[in-house]
Amino acid sequence: MGYPDDLKYSDEHEWVRVEGSIGTIGVTAYAAEQIGDIVFVELPGVGDTISATESFGVIESVKAVSELFAPVSGTVTEINEDLADSPEMVAADPHGDGWLIKVEMTDPSDLRSLKDSGDYELMVDDL
């Protein structure tokens, strides 16, 4: 599986795509594969704040509940409404249409603790 170069990756297997001050957040292909059979996604509401490394929602398979950990801090500006009816989209296109939320980032220094695609790929290869 490929990890796009324009994303930054967290050790908790979330990614962020930065466009200006807006960060789009999702889970990595590795995480989606590990979770398997995704049937439910619970996300914060627009206007909620999220904090880097802290839980901002859950993603559920038939078998289990997994927490989502924010790669960056910010205020939620948009959520992927399509996931309510089509949670399987997270696994089908984890780095694209399966995105979770967009945030107005509040601390650009959050990005410094994230990995680029090459380092992230090396990390998951060892898991």
Binding site: V39, S61, K63, V65
Partner: protein, 364 residues
Amino acid sequence: MLTTPLDARHRALGARMIPFAGWEMPVQYAGLVEEHVAVRSVAGLFDLSHMGELLVSGAGAAGALDYALVSAPSRLKEGRAHYSMICAPDGSVIDDLIVYRTGETAFMVVANASNREAVVAALVERLAGHDANLRDASMETALVAIQGPESAVMLARHTDADLATLKYYAIITGTVAGIEVQIARTGYTGEDGFELYVPWEQAGALWDALLTAEAGNGLVPAGLGARDTLRLEAGMPLYGQELDRETTPFEAGLGRVVKFDKPGDFVGRVALEAVRESPSKQLVGLRITGRGIARTGYPVYLPAAEAAVGIVTSGTSSPTLGEPIAMAYLPVAVAEIGAVLEVGIRKARAAAVVVSLPFYRRQT
């Protein structure tokens, strides 16, 4: 950590292995939902070698088991089986069991892996004074199950046994792929199916023969994940979730298993007679009509009420029904079909309605 004789095969098939009751077991291969659907529509092959096989034999075996268990194994005909439980003197459940009568004076008691030692200890104590011997054959007896609507057709191609006359909850000796096994028409999936008790060292050959020959017909290896969702849809209890030392058979809706009319005393009789008409809680099925999936341990509330009245024991998104289902314990007074409740799911509450069990029943 213990491993089954099929461990290397699971790994070669790409299974995800998890610790379960002291064993390393496959939780899924290709994917839980895919395996679940295969068992509902075609057939799946399970490794259940972690289960405990306890052999009770002797002239007094039937009477000893009538005393030790809440059911009446003495009433079983040879070659038949029933679902049973072993209870503590306080009426709580030590384990749920399948009891097979394999001979006039021979029984096989199949226990959950997690409770094998507790069941052995209780049986040793309860068999004392009876003309009955207990042998724990768990580590020499592997168990391979083939479950699903096509399982009988598939298995028939590999056995000399007459499956057409093998009734539900019956057991016979026969050969499968040339290997002598005990073939039981039992399972934990809500589908037709067979459980094959096979000597440890021949389990690999049995597994390979069935999977190699029948994979092209749709047989897939299935893990503990699918086993759990299949049994939940079928409304079957899982020890540690619906059954435990805080729960009697009556609360679990399994009072029919307790045979008060059998002669003589049995362990738990007094306590169970006392709770028979007044169980303190009742197991129910829930459909979650609100948003979210109820999971083990989530609280259940009356609508808008502050204090929880019940607790979810098992819950998932049902692959067959395509909606969230759960089992929960509720006070008897509110455990009525159609009752509207709420399940606490993290910080929110989701509406739920009490429904009859099972959630899924196969067409026969």
